[in-house]
Symmetry: C2
Subunit: 366 residues, 2 copies
DNA sequence: TTGTAGGCGTTATCAC
DNA sequence: GTGATAACGCCTACAA
């Protein structure tokens, strides 16, 4: 479409009105209009109100493209996530969008689909769109980081969240998975468990490595031995949780507590226990990880670790905005570590006084 | 930040390179560069490859802001959703982003938080950002639609999805809730249920009104009477489902089938049945609506209606792109109605041959 | 306090 | 086939 011709008549009602249109209408210069609209200091109050009134009348919308082009700074932030599904990423994105919008920014969202090449293309697209900063949770297949070097060498603020690159040289917001595992396992110990098993996830992923470490820390702290038969490595699926539980229940001396690195896996174990007539939490107490939505609807409800999705989103935006404002000056990279929260529910609580009444699940309204 | 001064030296490595920089380097005009990069017809092949090589060397990124400003058309689409949580909206957004990105568009996401005023602000922001089109799922509190009239009067393509305004004058993609209810209730009839109850949602919301209507249709079709004591109006929560079930089980003649307008509510009913020793599906068959993630992990798994979230996203983008391409020409608004899918699971399947083995739940990896 | 003018990076139009 | 030039809408020295 060819650009609209400049006309001397007032703008058609269905066409966006520019500052030039307002200027012509009032017989003043564009500068005046610009100052009135941007609340500049040197502008007569009556002039200003006249401009504002006309702007409202014509429903003037500033063209942020033009503004960004001129100023070299847009009001757009970019997010790259592996995907927008499940519980975790949508919640973080929710937190990000809320915080960004509060600060006057809009957010462009991209999915890498766990594909490094796609992630690279996402970065290019965001650079092309002239975003003011980028937030990334790494794709699982990303092994080289040049595309991010390029971002930083342009002086464009960059913050990783949840899945970050290692090191002190990046800005990142992550959850302390190890601490989560530690407090969860400690809780099982406090409930009287002495033989605590662990459903571990793929150890090449940091989150699962750290969760296993936290579990080990808690055992050591309590002076308990680590028994290899009590650690089962899984892909964190429900079925693998059930399978592990079957193996454990077949032992001469089965565990009396289980810390699972994920909720689905914990669920599988719990269901297998029920099938075999083993009582949860009395015979075996179980805790999960992630606070999946279903953990409050099972019977018993599942003790788990909340990952502070919303806070993670907020913290990510806060850090990014700091970087944007400090743009130009030197800024020492920061890693923000969020503290996980243990949500104690019925699957691990052995005392007589259980949590009173199930937490009402959110309405299934869409 | 003041715009960078035009310099005669090659660009610093950390600064974006423009077409002018390339032109200077090659001693040709910007026009030539532009043509080479945009694959224009009148350009010498050797010139073209020279330009492309240099562009790659300097890692040239087109400035889409400038391009959009000049052309009056950006490569950005806007989405407005009530929120990015639960199962439904994230999945639709996932579908939208995937389809948009395939077509070379990026997506700005906004949340209205079920607030009409916020929704209005979202529209303004997207207009300001000069998006090429807008996709909206209405906030629950939206009662006036002027902000959308403004969008359309600007000639900006607009498509509603899921929560749309009524009428033939809008472009929309919605699910046929009534049909979903119909096939779900029919399925219960086929399973031999003769007294089918309904957990209904708030009737001022179209989706629940339509689901109730589908239920009534199925009863009429089967020549069964509508009994008011078998329809309970709820807010679709788990607890209300349980409460309704309690009332039904206290009847002299309890229902032998239940069609719930939502999965959480169905779950509550199912759990209450279990507590009272009533067998599902043999004593009472139950079906839900929405295909929430938990419906495959309960025991028994819950029969439900899939809402085609991904397809909805794709269809929305397809329709919007059509509108964008038809921009200027007259385009008769279209309403696309997606057909829901009945997922038959154990909570309603009375025959001996149940679904073999629980469907493996997706790994709880984040 | 207000106006003038140039430029942000790209592309369409015209001339060569 | 290539080049010069003028916009797109906004912002900001600088001048008045």
């Amino acid at each position: 479409m060819a650009p609209r011709k400049k006309s001397e008549t007032p703008p058609a009602p269905n066409t966006p009105v520019s500052m030039a249109d307002l200027a012509r209408e009032l017989g003043v210069s564009m500068t005046t209009i610009s100052r009135a609209l941007s609340d500049h200091y040197s502008i007569g109050p009556e002039m200003k109100s006249k401009v504002l009134k006309l702007a409202k009348k014509y429903n003037y919308q500033p063209n942020r493209l033009a503004s960004a082009l001129r100023k070299g700074k847009s009001k757009l932030l970019g997010i790259i996530v592996p995907y927008i599904e499940g519980r975790f990423f949508p919640s973080v994105v929710h937190g990000i969008e809320t915080a960004a919008s509060k600060a006057g920014y809009n957010v462009i969202i991209c999915q890498s689909n766990e594909d490094a090449a796609q992630e690279r293309r996402n970065v290019e697209a965001l650079l092309s769109a002239q975003v003011a900063g980028i937030m990334v949770s790494l794709s699982r297949t990303t092994t080289s980081y040049q595309h991010f070097d390029k971002v930083q060498s342009r002086g464009l603020p960059l913050v990783f969240f949840d899945r970050s690159v290692e090191g002190e040289n990046v800005n990142a917001v992550v959850l302390n998975d190890q601490e989560g595992a530690l407090i969860s396992t400690r809780h099982l110990l406090q409930q009287g468990c002495r033989r605590i098993a662990h459903l571990a996830g793929p150890q090449h992923l940091n989150i699962y490595k750290n969760r296993r470490q936290g579990y080990l820390d808690a055992l050591r702290e309590a002076g308990l031995p680590v028994e290899e038969e009590l650690i089962v490595y899984t892909d964190m699926t429900q079925d693998e949780g059930a399978a592990a539980m079957r193996r454990w229940l077949a032992l001469p001396n089965p565990p009396d507590g289980i810390f699972s690195g994920g909720d689905y896996c914990a669920l599988g174990a719990m269901q297998e226990a029920a099938r075999q007539g083993v009582r949860v939490p009395d015979d075996v107490a179980i805790t999960g990880f992630s606070n999946e939505a279903f953990t409050v609807i099972t019977e018993p409800t599942i003790t788990t670790i909340d990952q502070r999705c919303e806070e993670m989103g907020q913290a990510t935006v806060r850090l990014l905005l700091e970087l944007i404002e400090a743009s130009g000056t030197t800024f020492t990279p920061r890693q923000i570590v969020l503290r996980p929260e243990l949500l104690i529910r019925d699957s691990s609580l052995r005392e007589a006084r259980k949590t009173t009444g199930r937490r009402a699940a959110k309405a299934a309204v869409r």
